[in-house]
C-alpha cells in the first residue's frame, strides 16, 4: 500500500467517524467542533487529490467563517437536549426509512455504476508545476463566467433580502450617531465663563474645617 493510500484511509476514517459524532454527541458545542474536524479532514483529502486551492478555500470559508458564526450562536443559546430526544423512538421508523431512501438514491446517482473506474478512469497525475488555482480561475472566468456571475448576484440579493427582512429598528433602544459624535465642536459642549478673580478670605480655621458649617467664602 502506498503512502498516499494509507493517508487517504486515515483521513477518510476520521471524516466518517467525526461526521457520525456530529449527530450522536450530546453537547451542541462538541457537535460543532466535530463538524470543524470533518471539514478539516475533507480538506486534507482534497489536497491529497491535488486540489489544494479547493481544500484551502474549504477551510477558509467553512472553518474560518461559517463555523465561527455557528459556534457563536450555539454558545449563546442554551440548548436543552432532553425535550428534543422525546419522540426519538416514535419517529425512528420514519427516520430510518427516509435515510435508507436517500442512501439508495445516492448510490443510484453517484454509485460505482455511474462514477466507477470504468466510466471515469483515474486521471494521470498532473505534471509538477501545475498551478490549479490558475486553471480554476481560467475556467471560472471564461467558460462559466455567466453562471458564476449570476450565482454571485443571486447570493448578493439573498444577503440584501435577509438583512432587509430581519432588520427592525426598536423605538425604545438608544442609538449612537457616530457621525454626529465626530462632528461635535468645542462650542457645542463647553462654555467658558469669564469670572473676576476674587481673593479668598478665610475668616477662621473652624469655619473651614467643620463639616456642617461648610459655607466656604469664595
Amino acid at each position: 500500500m502506498s503512502f498516499e493510500k494509507i493517508l487517504f484511509y486515515i483521513l477518510a476514517s476520521i471524516t466518517v467517524i467525526t461526521a457520525l459524532r456530529v449527530i450522536t454527541v450530546k453537547n451542541p458545542v462538541h457537535a460543532a467542533l466535530f463538524l470543524v474536524l470533518t471539514f478539516f479532514s475533507t480538506a486534507m483529502i482534497w489536497i491529497l487529490l491535488e486540489a489544494e486551492f479547493l481544500g484551502i478555500v474549504l477551510i477558509l470559508v467553512y472553518v474560518g467563517a461559517v463555523m465561527v458564526l455557528f459556534l457563536f450562536v450555539v454558545m449563546m443559546i442554551d440548548v436543552n437536549m432532553a425535550p428534543m430526544r422525546e419522540g426519538f423512538i416514535r419517529n425512528l421508523p420514519v427516520g430510518v426509512f427516509v435515510a435508507l431512501v436517500m442512501i439508495i438514491e445516492l448510490a443510484l446517482v453517484v454509485g460505482p455504476s455511474v462514477f466507477g473506474l470504468q466510466s471515469y478512469p483515474a486521471p494521470a497525475p498532473a505534471p509538477a508545476g501545475t498551478n490549479n488555482t490558475l486553471a480554476l480561475g481560467q475556467v471560472l472566468y471564461t467558460d462559466f463566467v455567466y453562471a458564476f456571475e449570476i450565482a454571485a448576484f443571486i447570493l448578493l440579493v439573498a444577503i440584501v433580502a435577509a438583512i432587509a427582512l430581519s432588520q427592525r429598528r426598536r423605538s425604545d433602544a438608544k442609538y449612537q450617531d457616530a457621525a454626529a459624535q465626530a462632528k461635535v465642536r468645542r462650542e457645542d459642549r463647553l462654555r467658558i465663563v469669564s469670572m473676576p478673580a476674587v481673593k479668598a478670605v478665610v475668616e477662621s480655621a473652624e469655619a473651614v474645617q467643620s463639616p456642617e458649617g461648610g459655607e466656604k467664602k469664595a
Binding site: 477551510i59 458564526l69 459556534l71 457563536f72 454558545m75
Partner: protein
C-alpha cells in the same frame, strides 16, 4: 540547505533526507520564533517604559536582559488551575490550538529568495486559512472556562475577528491583483525594482487597512476588547494560569511577528533591499536579503508597541463600525480603482 547537509546525510534515501532537512528547518523556525517572542516581550516593556519615562525591567541580568527567562521559569512553576465545571478537554486544547495556528503559518513564509519550507502555490490562502483556524482558540477558551467574563471575551473576539478577517481578505485580493500570484515568493519578486515598486504605494489604502486589521486580529491594543482588563477582567484567558496563560501570551506575540512578516512580504518588498535601483545599491550589495526582511519585521513590531503605548482602547461598537462600515467599503472601493489601474496598465506596478 540540502546541499549543505549532503556530506552528512548523502547515504540516506531521498525521502528520509527530505524529511530530516524539513524537520531541521521546522526546528530552526520554531526556536527562532519562540526566542523572538521572548525578547519581544522584553522589548515591549522597555519601549513602553521609555515612552512613559520609566526604565522598564532592569533587575534580572545586565540591563534586565534575562527578564523573559525569569518570566518563563515563573510561569512554568505556577500551579495550573482548572475552574469548576469547566470543559476540561476543550479548556486545555484551546491554548494549544491558538499556538499551533500561530506557528504553522510560518511554513510558507519566505525569509529570502527561496528560503522557505513549503513553496506552495496557494501560500497566501494558506496563511489566511490558518489564521482563520486560530480564531477557535480564543472562542473555545472563552466558552470552556465556564466563566461569564471569559465567555464575553470569547463572544467579542468571535464577532470582531470575522469582521476584520473580511477586511484583511479584501486587502489580500488587492495584492493578488497586483502580483497575479498567490505564492508569497512570487509576490515579493513582483515588487522588485525600487522602493517605489513595492506594493505599499499603489495599494496604500489596502496597506493601512491590512496592518490595522492585523493589529485587531492579534487582539492588541487599541483593539484588545477580547481581553479588556477594565471591563471584563482579562476576557477569554481570565481563568488560565501558569503554562496555559503562557501559551496564550506566546501565541499573541507569535501572531504579532507573523502579521509583521506578512505585511513586510506583501507591501514592503519582503527580502528586497530598500536601496534597490538607487546609487546606494552597490554599497549594500553584500547585505543578505534576510537582514532587510528582519529589519522590516522589527520596524512593524515597533509600530505595534507604539500603538499600545499611544492609543486608548476602542469601544466595542466603535470597533464594529470601523471594521464593517469603514475598512470593508474602503478595500472594496480600492479593488475597483485597482481594476482601472490594471486595465490601463498604470505605472511600473501593473505593466
Amino acid at each position: 540547505m540540502t546541499e549543505f547537509l549532503s556530506p552528512v546525510l548523502g547515504w540516506l534515501p531521498q525521502t528520509i533526507q527530505f524529511l530530516i532537512v524539513t524537520l531541521i528547518q521546522i526546528g530552526i523556525i520554531i526556536l527562532g520564533v519562540t526566542l523572538a517572542v521572548a525578547y519581544l516581550t522584553y522589548a515591549e516593556r522597555k519601549v513602553i517604559g521609555y515612552m512613559q519615562v520609566r526604565l522598564g525591567p532592569n533587575r534580572v541580568g545586565p540591563k534586565g536582559l534575562l527578564q523573559p527567562i525569569a518570566d518563563v521559569v515563573k510561569l512554568m512553576f505556577k500551579e495550573i488551575i482548572t475552574p469548576a465545571v469547566a470543559n476540561r478537554v476543550i479548556f486545555y486544547a484551546a491554548p494549544i490550538i491558538i499556538l499551533l495556528a500561530a506557528y504553522v503559518a510560518w511554513a510558507v513564509i519566505p525569509f529570502d529568495d527561496g528560503w522557505v519550507i513549503a513553496d506552495v502555490n496557494a501560500g497566501l490562502l494558506y496563511v489566511l486559512a490558518v489564521g482563520a483556524a486560530g480564531v477557535y482558540g480564543v472562542i473555545l477558551a472563552g466558552w470552556a472556562s465556564n466563566s461569564k467574563y471569559a465567555l464575553l471575551g470569547g463572544m467579542r473576539s468571535a464577532a470582531h475577528k470575522v469582521a476584520y478577517e473580511l477586511a484583511m481578505g479584501f486587502a489580500l485580493v488587492g495584492v493578488l491583483m497586483a502580483s497575479n500570484s498567490l505564492n508569497l515568493g512570487e509576490i515579493v519578486r513582483g515588487q522588485s525594482g525600487s522602493i517605489l515598486h513595492w506594493y505599499w504605494l499603489p495599494l496604500l489604502p489596502m496597506f493601512a487597512v491590512y496592518f490595522i486589521s492585523g493589529v485587531a486580529e492579534t487582539n492588541r491594543a487599541p483593539f484588545d476588547i477580547a481581553e479588556g482588563e477594565s471591563e471584563i477582567v482579562a476576557g477569554f484567558h481570565v481563568e488560565y494560569s501558569g503554562m496555559g496563560f503562557a501559551l496564550f501570551m506566546l501565541a499573541e506575540y507569535a501572531n504579532m511577528i507573523l502579521i509583521s512578516a506578512l505585511t513586510a512580504l506583501l507591501f514592503l518588498g519582503g527580502w528586497l533591499s530598500p536601496f534597490q535601483g538607487t546609487f546606494l545599491e552597490p554599497a549594500f550589495a553584500l547585505v543578505p536579503g534576510i537582514v532587510w526582511f528582519l529589519l522590516k519585521i522589527a520596524f512593524l513590531l515597533f509600530l505595534f508597541l507604539w500603538f499600545r503605548a499611544t492609543f486608548p482602547r476602542y469601544r466595542y461598537d466603535q470597533i464594529m463600525r470601523l471594521g464593517w462600515k469603514v475598512f470593508i467599503p474602503v478595500t472594496v472601493l480600492w479593488i475597483f480603482v485597482e481594476g482601472v489601474f490594471v486595465y490601463f496598465k498604470l505605472g511600473p506596478w501593473f505593466s
